[in-house]
Amino acid sequence: MLGTVLGMATRLVRRVRKPVALPDRFDGYAPIAVPATYLLLFLLVPIAFAIFISFFEYDAITLIDWTFTTQYYQDLLGDSFYVSVLWYTVRLAFIVSACAVLLGYPIGYYVAKTTPFRRQLALLAVFLPLMVGTVARIYGWIVLFATNGVINGFLGALVGVELSLLSNTFAVTVGLFSVFLPLVVLPVYSAIEDMPDSLVPAARNLGANRAEAFLKVELPLSLPGLISGTIFVFVLTMNSVVTPRLLGGRTDITMGVLMYDNAVTNLNWPFASATGTVLTVTTTVLVYVYFKYVRGRMGVET
C-alpha cells in the first residue's frame, strides 16, 4: 500500500522533472528521493528538534527558555528516582519479551505444524487482542483483575482468598504481553513454516533423536524469526505508556509514562524530550547488543 503510493509519487516526480532535465548522475537517486524526503520531514526533523530542545531550560510561561543546560540529562542519569524509572522500564521490557518468547515460540511452532483448520483458529485467537482498541482491552483486564473483579469474585467464593492483581507490575506485564504475543507468534510461525518438512526426518535418519533434531535444526533455523519477534516486543514495551499507566501502580512508572506526564501534564517539553532521547538511545543500544550477541553465539545469518 505504502509502496504503491511511493512508487506513484516517484513516477510523478520523474514526469514533472523530465523537462527540467537534471544531469544524468542524479538519475540513480531519483527513486529514493520521495521516501528520503518523507523520512527527513516526518522522522529526522522532529527527532532532531526534540533532541535540540532537550538542551534548553524549561520556562513555565514560554515553555522553552533558550538557555543551554544539561540539567535534564544529569537528573535522568544521576538522580536515583529517574535511574530507577529507566531500570524499571528495561526490566519490564525483558520480562515481557521473555514471557512472549516462552509462550509465543511454542504457539508459533504449533500453528506451523497443525492442521489448516486448527491453524486458522489458533491464529485468530492470537490476533484477536490486536483487533481490540488499547483502552477497551485494558479495561477488560481491569474488570478481571480488580479487587471486586471477576477473578477475585471466583476466588473469594471458592477458597476465600483475595489477591491483589491490579495496579502492579504483574498487571502491566499481562496487559503488555497479551497484546504483543502475536508479534512473536507470527515470525516464528512463518520461519517454521518455511522449513522443508524433510529436515527433521533427515536429522533423525542421521542419528539425532527428536529433541536433538529440534535443537540442532529447527531451533537455529527459526531463530531469525524469534529474534525479530523479540525485538518488536522489546522496543514496544520500552516505549509503552498507556498500559503501564492504566494497569500499573504508583511505582510502575516507565520512561514512556514519565515522558507523557512531563509533555502533556506539566508541559515541560525539554525534560520530556530529554527523557525520550535517553529512552531511544537505551533501546537502540540494548537491541544492538542483543543482536550482536545472538548473532555471534548462534551463528545466525540475519
Partner: protein
C-alpha cells in the same frame, strides 16, 4: 539368510491400503530399485524401512536385526531425500559431520579425516567450509550422498533423489550413484518412477502397481519378459494387441481377426482372449521379417516424430495403429506405404 528382508509388508491408512503385502529379500551389496507410478506405495515402503512410518503388518529386518519399532535414529540407515534436506544453516563440513557426531564416539580428528575422505570420494575436496546455499545443484546432490555414505550405513535408501534435476545433471548423478555403489558396496534400495534410472542402476527391479508387487526381476528380464501389460507399458513403451491363442499344425499361434503370428512359447495354452506386446523398436518397416514365418503386413505411416537419436512413427495396419521406432533421422514421411513386420513380441497377462 538375506541381508535385508521385508516380509508381508502392509501399510493401511484407514481404508486406503498404501502397501499391500509386499515381500522382498535383498542380499548384501545388492542394488534394488522400487519402481512404480506415483501413488503406488513405493515411498511409503521406503518410509517404513527408514522408520518414519509404522507398518500395519509385516516384518522388516536389516543385517539380521528386526527394525520394526526402532526409532529412525537407531536403524543405521542412510536416506537420500528427494529434496536433499541439507541443513541450510550449516557448512558442508557440518552437514557431512552431523551423523558422525551422533552415531559413534569419534574424536574430533577422526571425524575430520572421515569427512575429508568422503568429500574427496564425491569429488568435492576442500569444500568443507563452504555454505550449502552457495553450492550448485550437482554439488548439493553430492553433499547429500556424502552425508549418508560417511556413516557407512547398513542400508542406503534413495527417495527419488534425481527427480528435481535437469536431464544432463540427472544422467551425471545417475552414473555417480552407480559408481559410488560399485566402490562402497553398500546395500541400496532406490525408489523411483523413472524406469531409465531403475533399469540402469539396479541389480533387480521391484515393480509396484496399486500398492502390490507385480514383478521383481533383473532389469534385462523386466524389459524382455515383462509378463504383464502394466509392466510392459511402464517399463518402456509397448504396442498391445488382443487376440486369441490357437494352434496351426500343432504349433501355438497368436491370432487376430486380420493376421496370425507364430509363438515360440510352447507352453502357451489355447485361450480365447490374450494380449500380445510388441516393443516399438521391434516393429520393422520395409525390412524382411526375421522371425517365424515372416508375417508382414501392408501399412501406412500416419505420424512422424524425430526425437534426436531415434524417430517415432505411427503406422496404420488395417484398423490398428502401431508405434514404431527407428534409429536415426526420419526415413519415411506421413502417407508413405510400408510393409510392417515384427522382429520380436511376447505374451503378457492382461
Amino acid at each position: 539368510m538375506s541381508f535385508v528382508s521385508l516380509q508381508n509388508l502392509t501399510k493401511e491408512y484407514g481404508d486406503v491400503v498404501a502397501v499391500d503385502d509386499v515381500s522382498i529379500d535383498v542380499s548384501e551389496g545388492e542394488f534394488v530399485s522400487i519402481l512404480g507410478p506415483s501413488g503406488s506405495g513405493k515411498t511409503t515402503m521406503l518410509k517404513a524401512i527408514a522408520g518414519f512410518v509404522e507398518p500395519t503388518n509385516g516384518v522388516i529386518s536389516v543385517a539380521g536385526r528386526d527394525v520394526i519399532g526402532l526409532p529412525p535414529e537407531d536403524r543405521n540407515m542412510g536416506l537420500v531425500f528427494q529434496r536433499l534436506a541439507l541443513f541450510p544453516h550449516m557448512s558442508v563440513f557440518d552437514n557431512v559431520a552431523f551423523g558422525l557426531r551422533h552415531r559413534e564416539s569419534l574424536s574430533k580428528a577422526e571425524i575430520e579425516t572421515r569427512v575429508e575422505d568422503i568429500l574427496k570420494l564425491v569429488s568435492l575436496p576442500g569444500y568443507g567450509d563452504r555454505s550449502i546455499t552457495n553450492l550448485s545443484g550437482g554439488e548439493q546432490q553430492r553433499v547429500a550422498l556424502a552425508r549418508v555414505m560417511v556413516l557407512e550405513p547398513d542400508l542406503l535408501l534413495y527417495d527419488e533423489p534425481l527427480s528435481d534435476l535437469d536431464r544432463q545433471l540427472r544422467e551425471e548423478m545417475r552414473r555417480e550413484i552407480k559408481d559410488l555403489h560399485d566402490r562402497m558396496g553398500i546395500t541400496s534400495i532406490y525408489v523411483t518412477h523413472n524406469q531409465r534410472e531403475a533399469l540402469t542402476l539396479s541389480d533387480r527391479v521391484l515393480v509396484l502397481q496399486d500398492a502390490q508387487k507385480v514383478r521383481c526381476a533383473p532389469p534385462s528380464e523386466i524389459y524382455s519378459d515383462p509378463q504383464s501389460e502394466f509392466v510392459a507399458n511402464f517399463v518402456g513403451d509397448s504396442n498391445f494387441i488382443s487376440g486369441q491363442i490357437g494352434r496351426q499344425n500343432g504349433a501355438p499361434v497368436f491370432e487376430t481377426d486380420s493376421f496370425s503370428l507364430p509363438l515360440d512359447d510352447a507352453t502357451a495354452d489355447e485361450s480365447d482372449s490374450s494380449v500380445l506386446y510388441i516393443r516399438p523398436e521391434d516393429v520393422k518397416l520395409n525390412e524382411p521379417a526375421t522371425t517365424g514365418n515372416g508375417v508382414s503386413q501392408p501399412g501406412r505411416v500416419t505420424g512422424t516424430v524425430h526425437l534426436g537419436s531415434v524417430t517415432e512413427y505411427d503406422v496404420e495396419v488395417g484398423d490398428r495403429t502401431f508405434l514404431a521406432t527407428d534409429l536415426g533421422a526420419p526415413r519415411y514421411e506421413d502417407g508413405d506405404e510400408v510393409t510392417v513386420s515384427f522382429a520380436d513380441y511376447g505374451l503378457v497377462e492382461a
